[in-house]
């Protein structure tokens, strides 16, 4: 079984900084990680982009950025940051869907991290 530290570092997150935020409480971190995957902001972002509603898209991306930042999921955080900035500026761009796809991919990677920890738990 991988430890949380090993799993996070393998994913690319800074274990030390992140866990300080959770006062070293790993159980609490896992609880929050579960909550992240129940969060609907990713879905909102996708829907808003499809409708071309850049304002809603920014709101969703902005919230998402705050949350994943707090969770210390660095790769996912970078992907969200990439889309937040043009959305904040309200730029009409062609590559939003590519960027969104990048976010979704990173989201899945993060989910893998979560699942690997769950498996470890079960094993």
């Amino acid at each position: 079984m991988k430890t949380l530290k090993e799993a996070m570092e393998a994913y690319g997150a800074d274990y030390g900084v992140t866990m300080a935020r959770f006062m070293g409480n790993e159980t609490m971190y896992l609880k929050f990680l579960d909550m992240l995957f129940r969060d609907d902001n990713l879905q909102k972002l996708g829907e808003a982009l499809q409708k071309g509603d850049l304002t809603r898209a920014f709101e969703a991306a902005h919230t998402l950025k705050g949350v994943v930042g707090n969770m210390g999921l660095t790769p996912l955080f970078r992907a969200v940051c990439a889309i937040v900035e043009p959305l904040r500026a309200g730029e009409a761009r062609e590559d939003y869907s590519a960027m969104y796809q990048e976010v979704v991919t990173e989201f899945e990677k993060a989910d893998e991290l979560r699942r690997s920890l769950k498996e470890g738990e079960q094993a």
């Binding site: 006062m23 929050f32 909550m35 992240l36 969060d39 902001n41 919230t63 705050g66 900035e85």
Partner: protein, 861 residues
């Protein structure tokens, strides 16, 4: 530990919110809201308890900016600090948040240590500021507090060495009274009014503060003169704004001439100046000047020397003789104190007594005087002089400070004197702070045998109510009062009224400060008992008084030596009417000493006793088996006579229910079946006396409540109550309402004395022009009413009304006063309510006035 501080987290995202809660919950109690709207309702509930708000900006329903604007605009909430949580992606959010009133911001991703640190430091900052504000500003008025005022004055003086300043302060003389009468909220309102006036007047020319209760102070740029009118105007403004009128403000001014003294001292000087005119009518402001300074220095010198003076015997007792008017004989003395200072010479009490009253030394001095007076009496007794009584002053502080009755009793016992030899002069004032304690203490003193004199009656704030409540034996009339009173015509004036009041309350009266023959004659004429004053003798050293006593002797010893002391009467008489000589002897043995026991073996002797000393009769012990059915004759005779009707009667006889019933029905208060123990008789007699006394008190009180003090007629309340008792057989009755037309003008132009005289005059006319059964009352300030029962003749009533108006008019003309009266008349039948009758009467009066002054008008539909 104090309860945890509360923090409100406003954040829509559940993960962020929960995370913040987790971070904070270790040290704070955290409340949550998911948007601005929800946060506002949390604030509505807990607003004043929340120490800090952590706020996200981007939220649905109500965003952070809107929330911030609302909170910062709300006076009750604006002081709560807000920390905004932002993304670390640009300054714009942060700047916008700060410009909306946020105190600080924290960025995401959260750094728990940073958040905790910022939260703690901002809460701390805000609490310190709130505390500083509390320390610096008076919560009620918003002015500077005492400490902060001092500090600011120091700074201003340091920064402006070349500019001159004054300190001005004020006290409200009667603030406590205003608080008492109108209540604390009114008192607070008054203080705010004063504060506003200060702020307005001082403006940016100085600073203002409130020291305590009603003490205000300000520092102003110096001006050369301060006029009375300036302060009168300010006082008037305050009076016009406050619900309490007649507020007396005293102002004190200190020009800062000496910057080397402390600011505290400067303020003290202004306050001392204000205090120096406390209670002085017509004085509004006083400056701290050389005169005040030397007066204060003198007071300081007195204070410094007083203890030593007492030890070294510098205080001397002087005695001022009191004479009985009836036979001009020496009847007692008042012990006064003089200070024979080795350097300053003989000091008048006026110089040091008020100061001792303020600094509390009076208690020690009074005790010294009492002791000296007792020692003098003991000495005289030992040398066989007539046993006089001496009166001493008891200050207010004595009553509150010491266990007075025990102290005094112990003292007279030590000197082997009866308490009745020491008369205690107590000054009464309607503004007594704790009247209950005063009454209780005085009652106790009187119970143990001291004779109580009410000093200074008629000056200051004497109150009839206090007279009724304070158990006293002697009324001492103030000299100033007598001096102005004797100048007035003989049958007018309050002096006569006070005499009759005293008679009626069984008090004897001492007039003090009698200075000439006229005064004496007048006092003699109205029946005053004792006099004291320069006309007879000044206060003199004990030796001199002793010579006087040796030469003339004193004539009143038997009056003073009663166990139950009274000035104007012999010992109370207890009549025992009983055919059994042995029984009479028994009663005599038990009651003698406290009463003069008079024996009567039959009805004839009993009745003789009534005519001899009926007015001194305290109680009667009456056998129901006197010879020749005499018992019932005695009872009937007692019930018939007004003066004996209220004397308590204990009937005695064999155990026989029929006889007992007969006695009680005939008016006996109690029945003691023979044989009985004398102790039980003693108890029965005193219980009956107590009952009678309390009934009597009630009756007097009722009478006082129903009488107009000026004219002695019924007042409005008395009138209403009498009218309620009118019977069918009195109908129809005529009501005449009189109105004195120019009373206000006369009061205003010639003073209230003149107005009062006019009212009394009208009362007299009303009395002399009516019959015994008529009802007379002073109905309003200048209205009188006369009710003639069983009267239907309109012309006769009109004639009566005109006769009275005419009599008043000609009386006024004689005295060259232009006053007249009008009258409205109604004849009231059965079935007309009293309200309606009075309404009609006053309508008729209005018509009478309209038709010309001095007229009468009969009411017609």
């Amino acid at each position: 530990m104090l309860s945890q501080r509360k923090i409100l987290v406003v954040e829509d995202n559940v993960i962020n919110r929960t995370m913040l809660c987790e971070i904070l919950s270790g040290q704070y109690q955290v409340l949550q809201a998911e948007n601005g709207q929800a946060a506002l309702s949390v604030l509505k509930e807990n607003g004043d308890q929340i120490s800090l708000i952590l706020l996200d900006i981007m939220m649905p329903i109500m965003d952070g900016y809107t929330f911030l604007s609302i909170v910062k605009a709300d006076k009750a909430l604006s002081a709560i600090p807000v920390i905004v949580t932002t993304q670390s992606d640009g300054e714009s959010d942060e700047v916008a948040a700060l410009s909306h009133g946020a105190s600080d911001f924290v960025a995401k991703p959260y750094k728990p240590q940073v958040i905790l640190h910022r939260v703690a430091s901002i809460i701390n900052l805000r609490e310190t500021a709130a505390m500083m504000h509390q320390v610096q500003y008076d919560r009620l008025t918003g002015l500077f507090t005492k400490e902060f005022f001092y500090q600011r004055v120091k700074e201003i003086l340091l920064r402006n060495p070349n500019r001159s300043y004054d300190i001005i302060c004020s006290n409200i003389d009667n603030f406590k009274l205003i608080n008492d009468i109108f209540g604390m909220p009114a008192g607070d309102q008054l203080l705010r009014i004063v504060a506003e006036l200060y702020i307005k007047k001082v403006g940016d020319k100085g600073i203002c503060g409130r020291f305590n209760a009603d003490q205000f102070i300000c520092l102003l740029e110096h001006r050369e003169t301060y006029t009375d009118s300036l302060f009168i105007q300010a006082s008037e403004q305050i009076n016009s704004l406050s619900s309490a009128k007649n507020i007396m403000m005293k102002w004190g001014i200190y020009e800062i001439v000496d910057r080397t003294i402390s600011v505290e001292k400067m303020c003290d000087r202004a306050l001392l100046a204000a205090r120096s005119i406390k209670g002085q009518y017509g004085k509004f402001c006083a400056a701290y000047d050389d005169e005040l300074r030397s007066k204060l220095l003198q007071e300081q010198a007195i204070t410094d020397g007083m203890e030593a003076a007492l030890k070294e015997g510098q205080f001397e007792i002087y005695l001022q003789p009191k004479y009985r008017i009836k036979d001009d004989k020496l009847a007692g003395a008042e012990a006064l104190v003089r200070w024979n200072h080795p350097k300053w010479g003989m000091q008048s009490p006026g110089l040091f007594i008020p100061l001792f009253e303020r600094n509390g030394f009076i208690t020690q001095l009074d005790q010294y005087v009492w002791n000296q007076a007792c020692a003098t009496l003991r000495d005289w007794d030992d040398r066989g002089f007539d046993p006089l009584c001496v009166s001493v002053n008891v200050s207010r502080a004595d009553i509150y400070n010491t266990d007075l009755p025990d102290f005094l009793l112990e003292m007279v016992r030590r000197h082997g004197l009866s308490p009745a030899r020491l008369h205690l002069e107590i000054t009464e004032s309607a503004y007594t702070e704790n009247p209950h304690q005063l009454i209780e203490t005085v009652a106790h003193l009187r119970e143990v045998g001291f004779v109580i004199e009410m000093d200074d009656f008629g000056s200051g704030y004497s109150s009839l109510n206090m007279l009724n409540n304070l158990p006293i034996d002697v009324l001492k009339l103030d000299m100033k009062f007598i001096q102005s009173e004797t100048a007035k015509p003989i049958n007018q004036g309050i002096l006569r009224f006070i005499m009759s009041l005293a008679r009626w309350m069984n008090l004897s009266v001492v007039a003090e400060g009698v200075e000439n023959r006229d005064q004496l004659e007048r006092l003699r004429e109205i029946g005053c008992d004792y006099v004291q004053g320069y006309y007879f003798a000044r206060p003199m050293p004990c030796g001199q008084f002793e010579a006087l006593l040796q030469e003339h002797g004193a004539s009143v010893q038997e009056e003073y030596l009663q166990t139950e002391p009274r000035y104007d009467q012999g010992a109370p008489v207890l009549l025992v009417a009983d055919e059994d000589a042995a029984y009479r002897e028994q009663v005599k043995r038990v009651f003698e000493g406290r009463y003069q026991v008079v024996e009567a073996p039959d009805q004839k002797a009993a009745c003789q006793c009534f005519s001899d000393c009926g007015h001194r009769m305290a109680a009667v012990i009456l056998s129901m088996t006197l010879p020749e059915q005499g018992s019932m004759t005695v009872l009937e005779a007692m019930m018939r006579e007004k003066h004996s009707r209220h004397i308590p009667i204990i009937a005695t006889g064999i155990q026989d229910p029929l006889l007992e019933e007969q006695a009680l029905e005939a008016g006996a208060d109690d029945y003691a079946a023979k044989p009985h123990h004398q102790k039980s008789l003693w108890k029965r007699v005193h219980r009956a006396m107590d009952l009678t006394a309390s009934r009597e008190r009630e009756r007097r009180l009722q009478d006082e409540v129903y009488r107009d003090y000026l004219t002695g007629l019924l007042n409005r309340r008395g009138f209403d109550s009498v009218m309620e008792t009118l019977q069918q057989e009195h109908l129809p009755f005529a009501v005449i309402l009189f109105d004195i037309n120019q009373l206000k003008y006369i009061n205003h132009t010639f003073g209230h004395d003149q107005g009062d005289r006019l009212l009394m005059q009208f009362g007299e006319i009303l009395r002399s022009s009516t019959r015994g059964g008529d009802i007379l009352a002073r109905y309003g300030s200048d209205e009188f009413v006369l009710v003639v029962k069983q009267m239907r003749n309109e012309n006769a009533v009109l004639a009566k009304g005109r006769e009275i108006c005419q009599a008043f008019l000609s009386g006024c003309r004689q005295n060259a006063i232009s006053a007249s009266c009008s009258a409205g008349i109604v004849i009231a039948d059965a079935g007309t309510a009293m309200d309606t009758v009075m309404k009609r009467t006053s309508l008729a009066l209005t018509r009478a006035k309209a038709s010309g002054q001095g007229g009468c008008c009969l009411w017609k539909e």
